[in-house]
């Protein structure tokens, strides 16, 4: 896995394709310490070698260059990443939502997004004699 500057994200993949990395595997994002990171993997079918690249997403702009011109297979993945993490891809022509048609509310895979299910269902692990905060909820989580 190799981290690249987000400015060179699209250039890196163009270079990789010219080196024989024709097979696009996946693209997605993850959030660590409030920093969004985009990650993608491409492979060379001849040599069976692969390259996995990551790039930090600029928090101000919250956008990345699209690699869908180089790898058309990335279109679906970039659409999904836009929907789930709110990252916009510059140069992605088909930006129609996949599941969240209205795109209302916060992107669901951001750690700051509170899931409705966490408010509707009581936590089954709540101790009877004291109040405890379950893992994986926001700090001000309150059970209704």
């Amino acid at each position: 896995m190799r981290e690249v500057d987000q400015v060179f994200w699209a250039d890196e993949f163009r270079a990789l394709q010219s080196q024989g990395y024709f097979f696009f595997d996946f693209l997605t994002a993850y959030e660590r310490d409030s920093q969004l990171v985009v990650i993608a993997r491409v492979a060379n079918p001849e040599t069976k070698q692969s390259q996995m690249l990551t790039a930090k997403v600029d928090a101000q702009q919250n956008s990345m260059a699209s690699i869908s011109v180089t790898y058309p297979g990335a279109i679906w993945h970039e659409r999904e990443t836009t929907e789930m993490f709110g990252i916009s891809f510059v140069g992605l022509e088909d930006a129609r939502p996949l599941l969240r048609r209205s795109m209302l509310g916060r992107p669901p895979l951001l750690k700051s997004s509170v899931l409705a299910a966490r408010m509707l269902k009581p936590w089954p692990g709540q101790p009877s004699h004291r109040k405890q905060q379950p893992v994986g909820v926001v700090d001000d989580w309150l059970q209704l």
């Binding site: 269902k121 936590w123 089954p124 692990g125 101790p127 405890q132 379950p134 893992v135 994986g136």
Partner: protein
Amino acid sequence: MTTVDRIPAQSHGVIALSASACTSCMICVRECPAWCIELESHDEEVTEPGARRPRTVSVLDVFTIDYGLCMYCGICVDVCPFDALAWQPDFDYASGSATGLVQGINELESWGKVRE
């Protein structure tokens, strides 16, 4: 050869419960990211022969796993300090209703033996 024969023994098929090994410590319930395990228990006093005073043991009343919510991560199996939960390579428990995917003590115990 049936399908089950060809599936590796540690496959994430279904989670089997050994109710006698469970101490109702609630660790699995609290660690489950999908909140799909429910557990209720009560304490009973057991007097063993030769013991000076009775021992308090927890007895399971309710233990359910909702396979409609479970994401098969296996954290409950990993964190159980008493090996009361174990994976079994069984997949044949589809249901036509959401409530049919909630399995209780009897169903969970029927998935193979956790301890031979």
